[in-house]
């Protein structure tokens, strides 16, 4: 379980996130939805200490992340972002296996696990020795997810991962993601500004406006049936 | 700085010669390079680039003394040096000019052509002005290198600021050498700042951006 307690982030005079409090239940997909400037990226990056809160806390299973070593924490959490950031000079397989090897696994073990993850996300073994630039955008994203899963995390952080992919592939990836989440029992925190995506995959949906103000939080059914205000209505296209 | 004060007129004279040796190659070389970068057909570009790259690698003193054998100039004297420096300017500016022109967005040139501009009008009114920032950057680099490289001409008898090095060394006068270094450095700086100002004047639409690569 992930918990935000009055998490705040200021960059000088700019308030990126203000007094954000929310609970992310385990083994579910929680979607943070909002427009640019709503602080959703800031919030998600606090979970793996890529952003340190100015005040407030983020807790994972009751433990404040501030007390945990950043490097070890990140290795235990999967992170996927829109630009993927695959290493262009390493093959698909090497990309997925690398962090496991760095963390101390043997090369064989890491590669075996990498192959398993790549198959799980639907990458054909023929592509394992290819380089990222030889793959399509959708395939690169799948590899990104495989890489995030390579260290067998319980938590997966996803920041607009499917934003650069065309709509048909995007829907496929959304369905695959739900399947993978169920199979592995993952806790997924997912950021998007796409309403269709949010409504499709979320178990819990948190709609955010300026700097982390929560307009409404609940299941997609609850939000569509009883939108709390005009903002929620507009953003969900109701 | 007593040496400088005492020999002020001499240094000024050498400076003038130095400027003369440097300005001709810069102007002639740049014009050739910019025109060439625009005009050379794409299929010839790789071999041109390779050839110019090879030439650029040649040490200046070696080029100063090889040109006479190739084109019949005197071993000693400014002609060699001016031609050699021009060649270096062409080599260096060709790369910069190609980069600068490549950075002009094709959407802009396509639109201009669609609006009915001729090739020459396109070049003068669109490509050249938009390439100015890149060209100026390239020119600043090449100007600094040329100003300092020109001093080596003193070894083949050119009476420019490099002479202060040769003479100062032979007569064991460190101040003379230091004066020479300072003078060359100042001239290079003047060119650098001057070109930067020219760039600002020619491109009033540009917002000052990051110096990052």
């Amino acid at each position: 379980m992930i918990e935000f307690r009055h998490a705040t982030k200021n960059y000088g005079n700019v308030v990126a996130l203000h007094d954000f409090s929310a609970t992310i239940p385990s083994r579910t997909i929680t979607v943070l939805m909002g427009l640019s400037g709503s602080g959703k990226t800031t919030a998600i990056r606090m979970v793996n200490k890529m952003v340190l809160p100015t005040s407030g806390q983020v807790l994972i299973d009751g433990e404040d992340v501030a007390t945990r070593d950043a490097v070890q924490l990140r290795r235990s959490i999967g992170y996927v972002m829109q630009d993927v950031g695959l290493l262009p000079h390493k093959t698909v397989l090497q990309n997925v296996a690398l962090i496991a090897v760095i963390a101390g696994q043997t090369r064989d073990e890491a590669e075996r696990n990498a192959r398993a993850m790549l198959s799980l996300v639907g990458i054909d073994p023929a592509s394992f020795e290819r380089f990222p630039s030889q793959l399509s955008g959708g395939q690169q994203q799948r590899v990104g997810v495989a890489r995030a899963l390579a260290t067998k995390p319980n938590i997966l952080l996803m920041d607009e991962p499917f934003g650069a992919v065309d709509p048909i592939v995007r829907e496929e990836l959304q369905v695959e993601l739900c399947r993978i989440q169920r199979e592995l029992g993952l806790t997924i925190l997912f950021v998007t500004h796409d309403r269709h995506e949010a409504l499709t995959i979320a178990d819990q949906l948190i709609v955010m406006s300026n700097a982390g103000a929560i307009e409404q939080s609940g299941s997609p059914q609850e939000l569509t049936a009883k939108p709390a205000n005009d903002f929620v209505r507009k953003i969900l296209g109701l | 700085m007593d040496w400088l004060v005492a020999n002020w007129a001499f240094v000024a004279q050498l400076t003038l010669t130095h400027l003369g040796i440097v300005i001709i190659p810069l102007i002639v070389g740049s014009v050739i390079a910019i025109a060439g970068a625009r005009v050379v057909p794409t299929r010839w570009v790789p071999s041109t680039t390779a050839a110019l790259g090879a030439v650029y690698a040649i040490p200046s003193l070696a080029l100063f003394v090889t040109l006479p054998a190739l084109i019949g100039t005197d071993f000693i004297g400014p002609t060699n040096v001016v031609i050699a420096l021009s060649i270096y300017v062409v080599a260096s500016m060709f790369f910069s000019a190609r980069d600068a022109f490549n950075q002009v967005p094709t959407s802009t040139t396509t639109t201009a052509t669609a609006l009915g501009m001729s090739r020459l009008q396109l070049f003068l009114h669109v490509e050249l002005p938009m390439a100015v920032p890149g060209l100026i950057t390239g020119l600043r680099v090449v100007a600094a290198s040329t100003v300092s490289m020109a001093s080596i001409g003193a070894v083949v008898g050119v009476r420019n600021l490099g002479y202060l090095f040769v003479d100062g060394f032979q007569r064991r006068i460190p101040e003379e050498i230091i004066t020479g270094i300072g003078a060359v450095f100042v001239i290079a700086l003047v060119f650098d700042v001057g070109l930067w100002l020219v760039g600002r004047v020619l491109t009033p639409w540009r917002i000052r951006g990051d110096a990052r690569v």
Partner: protein, 228 residues
């Protein structure tokens, strides 16, 4: 016009190749001096450039150093150092001057190679749980290699050119034939020496260019495509 028969005869004369001031020795001397200075400079410039590129701090110093170094006349620098440290220490002065000349391009190549790595790649490497050193080793240095080799290429050109001037302060290197030849008006010697110098520089530059292309071709360009 120049007498090329005279030139051929000069090359054919074995006394011009043997001994302390023969071409073989001078060539070896020239290369040892150049490569030695470049290596020394690399020891300073590569770690420094990596640090500045990795942390992002001190960028202005790299750019400033680059601009300044281009404007400093190498011959003046060499002569000044020799007078400063005394003629007995001129080997030291030469090495010092050469190292100073080699540092800026190596620094610039390393820094630029690392700083132009897309932010998303560096960010995702951190988010994966790589330490700074691991990022440098697995991500930044491998991707910066072509640019670093490019820096070596430029350093090579500048350093070799400066060693050509070494005979002017009484040291060796291939420039000897040019300097002595000009003094005694033996233009065959001048031209022959300069041709050897030209061949050495061009071959070295082309070789490094080949290395640069090879290290670049293993790194496939980072692209995101939108088709499925």
């Amino acid at each position: 016009m120049f007498d090329f028969a005279e030139l051929a005869a000069w090359f054919a004369d074995s006394t011009n190749w043997d001994g302390r001031y023969g071409l073989w020795f001078l060539l070896a001397e020239h290369l040892v001096l150049s490569l030695g200075a470049i290596l020394l400079a690399a020891v300073v410039a590569l770690p420094l450039g990596t640090l500045i590129g990795h942390t992002g701090k001190g960028e202005f110093a790299v750019i400033g150093l680059g601009s300044v170094s281009r404007a400093v006349p190498t011959m003046g620098l060499l002569f000044a150092l020799v007078l400063l440290f005394g003629v007995e220490q001129r080997d030291l002065s030469l090495i010092l001057a050469l190292t100073a000349i080699a540092i800026p391009p190596l620094l610039a190549g390393t820094f630029s190679g690392i700083s132009t790595i897309p932010w998303s790649i560096r960010d995702s490497a951190t988010a994966q749980g790589m330490t700074g050193l691991q990022r440098i080793r697995h991500v930044e240095l491998p991707l910066a290699t072509p640019s670093i080799v490019g820096g070596f290429r430029i350093a090579f050109i500048h350093v070799v050119s400066t060693v050509v001037l070494a005979p002017l302060v009484g040291l060796g290197g291939l420039g000897f034939g040019i300097v002595q030849g000009l003094t005694v008006r033996n233009y065959a010697q001048v031209l022959a020496s300069s041709l050897v110098i030209i061949a050495t520089t061009v071959i070295g530059d082309q070789l490094l260019g080949w290395v640069q292309r090879r290290t670049g071709s293993r790194l496939v360009e980072h692209q995101t495509t939108e088709k499925s």
